[in-house]
């Protein structure tokens, strides 16, 4: 690795609340944000989800700004503001002006797109709203984060479904390592509670009406969430020069593609991504303490992920703490992978492992320590955060306690 990369700022908007502090407090309390949906949408079977609570966009943006902000951009900007502020940086200063902003999304500006489609297809109106394109485009959140934070460095969106945030963070990391930038604001945002998307998820038959119970025998599928997770990455040198608080080192990353089934996870693809991340970081499997699992609570994922962890870690697997925080913030698509890296980072920083909530009894093929229901205090040196997207796109980030 050319240059060490460290994590210095965190921003989290999720079903658990509007900031990273609330996110973390709720996670370690084992509180799930999954609630019955009360949406003004009829004819949908999906009945539960993790929406951002008590969210009033007008408390965060002017009415003029809101004309260009799809909900996924709103969440992105709020989380980005928090991450930059948390890093002790301000818009307008050189560090931010020259920074990169890589903002992933699994689904982009669907609220905007679907409102226009509803006008055209359903209401049979002849005109689309003129801001549909700039507001709904997949890169809208990246542009809005750039605009609202004053970031003028390399800025673009990145899409890899549910691994979008993880891939965006890795992209920022490699840009810092290459020397292209010193600072990168990276993460992802998703706001998937729209009629068309809910019907589409319904059709995939992977969403449950129970709750999200990763790795449990009675798990019955995913629960959708929404939110945004943003992280400020810096070269260690840059962070030290300004005496920044360092949460952890982003030690390594591993990415693979299954080149196979579009939705069924592939054990080899997953295990290879984990191995690549550890090799990149120069970390021995025996050094790993915590795995923040992809843990969607689908039948296929949890078995495949468990098998891959056993394959990579061997005897060490039984000593790992493995938890899925999706049980609490839901599956916020691309944003989930960024939120989960934030959970992993705070776990290392505070020495507390967030649990797998809603845990009942482990599936017989899921034989690891899933930290059921209650957070665990444990000093850790190394954690990995797993993200495996539809389409077979696997991304794993290894983080190490900074010393």
């Amino acid at each position: 690795m050319n240059r060490r990369v460290v994590i210095t700022g965190l921003g989290a908007v999720s079903g658990l609340g509007l900031n990273a502090t609330t996110f973390w407090q709720e996670l370690i309390a084992g509180q799930s944000a999954i609630r019955p949906l009360k949406l003004p949408i009829e004819n949908i079977k999906i009945s539960i989800g993790a929406l951002v609570p008590e969210f009033d966009p007008e408390c965060h943006f002017s009415s003029d700004d809101l004309t260009l902000l799809d909900r996924f951009s709103q969440l992105a900007v709020i989380a980005a503001r928090e991450a930059v502020c948390d890093a002790g940086l301000c818009s307008g200063e050189d560090s931010i002006r020259q920074a990169a902003a890589i903002i992933g999304s699994g689904c982009g500006g669907k609220h905007t797109d679907e409102a226009t489609y509803d006008r055209l297809y359903k209401q049979q109106r002849s005109r689309a709203h003129p801001l549909t394109i700039p507001k709904g485009m997949p890169s809208a959140a990246a542009s809005m984060v750039s605009k609202h934070l004053g970031i003028k460095g390399p800025t673009f969106a990145l899409a890899s479904a549910c691994a979008s945030g993880s891939h965006a963070i890795i992209q920022g990391c490699t840009m810092i390592q290459s020397g292209m930038v010193d600072v990168a604001l990276v993460g992802a945002s998703d706001a998937p509670f729209t009629f068309g998307l809910l019907k589409s998820w319904e059709a995939l038959r992977v969403a449950t009406d129970d709750t999200c119970r990763p790795f449990c025998a009675d798990r019955s599928g995913i629960v959708l969430g929404e939110g945004a997770g943003m992280v400020v990455l810096e070269s260690e040198q840059h962070a030290k020069a300004r005496s920044a608080r360092i949460y952890a080192e982003l030690a390594g990353c591993g990415m693979t593609s299954d080149a196979g089934h579009i939705t069924r996870p592939d054990i080899t693809g997953i295990s290879s991504a984990i191995i690549n991340a550890l090799n990149y970081a120069g970390i021995d499997p025996d050094e790993v303490d915590y795995v923040n699992a992809h843990g969607t609570a689908t039948q296929a994922n949890d078995i495949a992920e468990t098998a891959a962890i056993n394959q990579v870690f061997g005897d060490r697997a039984k000593k790992l703490a493995v938890s899925s925080t999706k049980s609490m913030h839901g599956h916020a698509l691309g944003a989930s992978s960024a939120l989960e890296l934030i959970a992993s980072t705070l776990a290392i920083y505070h020495g507390i492992i967030p649990p797998t909530a809603n845990f009942t009894v482990a599936d017989e093929q899921c034989d690891l320590d899933y930290v059921p229901n209650i957070a665990r205090e444990q000093e850790m040196d190394v954690a990995i955060s797993n993200s495996f997207a539809f389409g077979g796109l696997n991304s794993v980030i290894a983080i190490r306690k900074h010393s």
Binding site: R127, P130, P134
Partner: protein, 75 residues
């Protein structure tokens, strides 16, 4: 009156008072840039059930130009 409706639409996008808008008011003076202008035109087309062709847009400088294009200058 057409002016009242047009002024209402412009004021909504420009975030100004309806009373501040007269036929002679220049859109640019209200902070209406190209992006806001297409939003105003969209709202006008919807409200007046008409089409404002793209080639006429560059000639719209003042509120009165809008009234002309709508064919409602004398309403």
């Amino acid at each position: 009156m057409a002016l009242d409706k047009v002024a209402e639409i412009i004021a909504k996008t420009a975030h100004c008072k309806v009373e501040d808008i007269t036929p002679e008011t220049k859109l640019e003076a209200l902070g209406i840039d190209s992006l806001k202008a297409i939003t105003v035109l969209f709202e006008l087309e919807e409200a007046f059930d008409t089409e404002i062709p793209n080639e006429l847009i560059s000639s719209i400088i003042t509120v009165n130009d809008i009234l002309d294009r709508l064919g409602t200058a004398n309403c």
